[in-house]
Symmetry: C2
Subunit: 139 residues, 2 copies
DNA sequence: GCTTGACCTGGAGCGCGCTCCAGGTTCTAC
DNA sequence: GTAGAACCTGGAGCGCGCTCCAGGTCAAGC
């Protein structure tokens, strides 16, 4: 129920896919899809070919989820993952990607806040309309 | 090039679809799609069956765009549009929709800000890695 | 009157990001 | 050793939100 076959000689605790599903909120299918799509390196297997996720896999997964949740497209995440797997000489390029993504994200947040306050105004408008109806019905 | 045939007796200025494209940033196809999909009531036509958008159409379009940009699905926008077309007795329901949408939006903004600052941390990490390389490579 | 560009319609197609399926293997508990 | 749950694979399917296309009609300038 807990760890399964170790993959390397000094026993490192690993997680089954079900446990990763539980921890990340991703589905089995999404996890397999991410692997197939190259967002995750091929994760280690037991002798019976079942996935065993290591702590490093989890850490990357969690970062990847953040990238996705902030709107980075699959293709870009894959690019980032490829850079990562090529080692330290790709750090500058990865940094550039993150900076660009961060800038876009901050911009989106600003836009959302503007929209949110416009929405509040509309809500206020509706509330006034409810209190004294029939006054105007612009929207 | 400017206004086209009026639709009602006291001449109200109207916009061609090209002018609406320019003002809203939506494409011709998207505008027609929104109409087909019921997000916009059938807009007035010239005798030659060409669309002419009135100020009220524009105002609704701009609000609709805000709803879409803040992530409201097409189906919900259609629902809202239907309520709108049923008149003032649907104001409470519309208000409820907007309040719920606003709450979700604020929650999303909060999450994005958390993610954005986690992203900054990761960027800092990469910057340190660039300054004194080889120290660690967790992500 | 003719040309050219803007506009119309219905319907097919597409990119994204999963999600589901069939058919098989493996693991766990008894 | 066996039942049942968990896992595997390749590939098809799907929901969303457009976007494109074919085959026309309409409008404005010369």
């Amino acid at each position: 129920m807990s760890s399964g076959q170790p993959l390397s000689h000094p026993v490192e605790p690993t997680l089954t896919i079900a446990q990763v599903v539980e921890r990340t909120g991703l589905s089995h299918d999404t996890l397999r899809y991410y692997e197939k799509a190259g967002l995750i390196e091929r994760v280690g297997r037991t002798t019976g070919n079942q996935r065993r996720y290591r702590a490093a896999d989890l850490a990357w997964l969690e970062f990847l989820i953040r990238l996705r949740e902030t709107g980075m497209p699959i293709a870009d995440v894959r690019r980032f993952a490829e850079l990562r797997s090529r080692g330290d000489e790709t750090v500058p390029e990865r940094l550039a990607m993150l900076r660009e993504h961060g800038a876009g994200l901050r911009e989106r947040i600003r836009a959302l806040r503007r929209d949110a306050s416009a929405l509040e105004d509309k809500i206020d408008h509706y509330e006034r309309l409810l209190e004294r109806p029939g006054s105007d019905d612009l929207i």
